[in-house]
């Protein structure tokens, strides 16, 4: 008999597959973080709990210098990428004009290019314009591949935006600038913040582009970690890799929070 409603409920065994899926997703991360608290010198045999390896990270000057570079690059690139996306996204969302689709597509184009291809392109470009690999080159390259990620939440926020609010502000004699700052910006803020965070995470995580365009004094944390991994599996690497993962987790939860608030308050009235 097929009269009852909602009969096509589930694929047989889907809940078990989902469980295995999440175990697969989290098993390696849990193993990595667990082992980073291992007191033993051997990187994979558990003997006892210890914070030692993390303590050593804080005394590692090379790592701290790399962390400083990573932060400078991520903050600059995420800010620039957010600004570039915001300026265009508002215009694209509000107006109809020839070539609108093409301009819109321009902002997601970096997603279609594999990182390794963009990485060597960035290196060639930097050298062609007479710059040498370093922090400035890093900021330029990171800004480029962060743009689609900054653009995503901003565009989502602009969907269904009530443009009448801007007209109302103008009718009440607010200048264009004042309307932008007092009406548009506050309404866009959750999208801007989410876009910035996403771009920031993507920049912090990047290895391959940084590997090619960083100079001797400007390597970022992933490039530093890659150098260590090449030398072998050690408790220090366990601790750094775990710290990076934990920072990403915090950032992602933060992003999720900002983003869900942003969509809940999607209706400005």
């Amino acid at each position: 008999m097929s009269v009852s409603t909602n009969k096509w409920r589930r694929i047989t065994g889907a809940q078990w597959l989902t469980l295995v899926f999440f175990l697969f997703l989290y098993g390696p991360l849990i193993a990595l973080i667990g082992l980073s608290f291992n007191e033993n010198r051997s990187a994979t045999i558990w003997t006892g709990f210890s914070f030692d390896w993390y303590g050593r990270l804080l005394a590692n000057d090379d790592l701290l210098a790399a962390a400083r570079n990573s932060l400078i690059v991520a903050l600059s690139a995420a800010s620039l990428a957010t600004l570039i996306s915001l300026l265009a996204a508002v215009v694209i969302a509000r107006n109809r004009f020839p070539g609108r689709k093409a301009v819109d597509g321009l902002f997601s184009m970096p997603l279609l290019v594999p990182d390794i291809v963009f990485a060597i392109g960035a290196l060639l470009f930097v050298l062609t314009i007479g710059l040498s690999p370093g922090l400035l080159a890093l900021v330029m390259a990171h800004t480029a591949f962060c743009i689609p990620f900054a653009n995503l939440p901003i565009r989502a926020r602009l969907q269904g935006f009530d443009w009448a609010l801007l007209d109302a502000s103008a009718d009440l004699y607010a200048s264009r600038g004042r309307t932008m700052i007092r009406v548009l910006m506050p309404l866009m803020m959750p999208g801007i913040l989410a876009g910035f965070l996403l771009a920031f995470i993507v920049s912090l995580d990047d290895f391959i582009v940084s590997f090619f365009v960083s100079g001797p004094g400007s390597i970022t944390v992933p490039v530093y970690v890659f150098g260590l991994i090449r030398l072998g599996v050690t408790p220090e690497v366990n601790a750094i890799a775990s710290a990076i993962v934990m920072i990403s987790v915090v950032m992602t939860v933060l992003f999720f929070f900002v983003n869900s608030r942003s969509s809940r308050k999607g209706d400005p009235r």
Partner: protein, 298 residues
Amino acid sequence: MGRSTGKIYLSLAPSVAAIMILFCGPLLAIVAASFTRRAPNGGLDWSEFSVEGYVRLFAEPDLFGVLVPNYTFLSAFTRSLSLSLITTAICLLIAVPVAIYMSQSSHRIRNLLLLLITIPFWANLLARNYAWILILRSDGILDGIIRSVVPEAPQTGLLYTQYAVLIGLIYSFLPFMVLPIYASAERFDWRLADAALDLGASRRRVFVTVILPLLLPGIIAGSILVFIPSMGSYITPRLLGGGRDFLLGNLIAQQFGSARNWAFGASIAIALMASILLALALVNRLSQNKSEREVKVA
């Protein structure tokens, strides 16, 4: 409103210029570099137009200057293509049931699962691949778990094999597949499936003819998001693969590193981009044909 088209373009100019310089600049630099020749000291000789890099994709001059076939690129390309296709297929097989299951859960659980997928999605790729070294290496975590069940079991010896690379690629990109399919499944009206059942279709038939076609946009988006980074992957094969299992990404990086043949490296990058664009055009064509057929049926 009522702004003139000219004014609109003017206000878009700064952003468009920024993307053109920061993103299209590097792409053009690759195209330009691919038509140069390797300089004696290893850099680029910009003074001369040359297709040497492209010739090298298939052949290279031997000691006497006679062109002989060179399979370095072709074998890396074949390996990359087959590994990427297998990765995409396995991700698809896992992601469809998981995404459907998620979309049918209660609102609360759905949001929790979404967050749980997003976390590893943004966790550092290098760290996530490194974790697999700990698991797969000899006397690593996997061997430890197997020995705790079967004490005399031999080592699995998975690290530095193609299987390790495959596991690493699936692990790296699986969330890219689940999220778009979930987005499609969430919008799916399940009453359609029930209607088909009520009209006497079997469960399998409902799945194939009603559910899958409506999930297609998500499936296509997910497949693209998995296939592209797999084709260009560098970290996973570098950390988990053996020296012999070279993929395209490694070959490109090698030309800009130890091999110091930038023109060849740029040519490989162009070939990679061309194959990706070809794949995208193919997918586009197929999905268009499909929707045309559906219109005819309707």
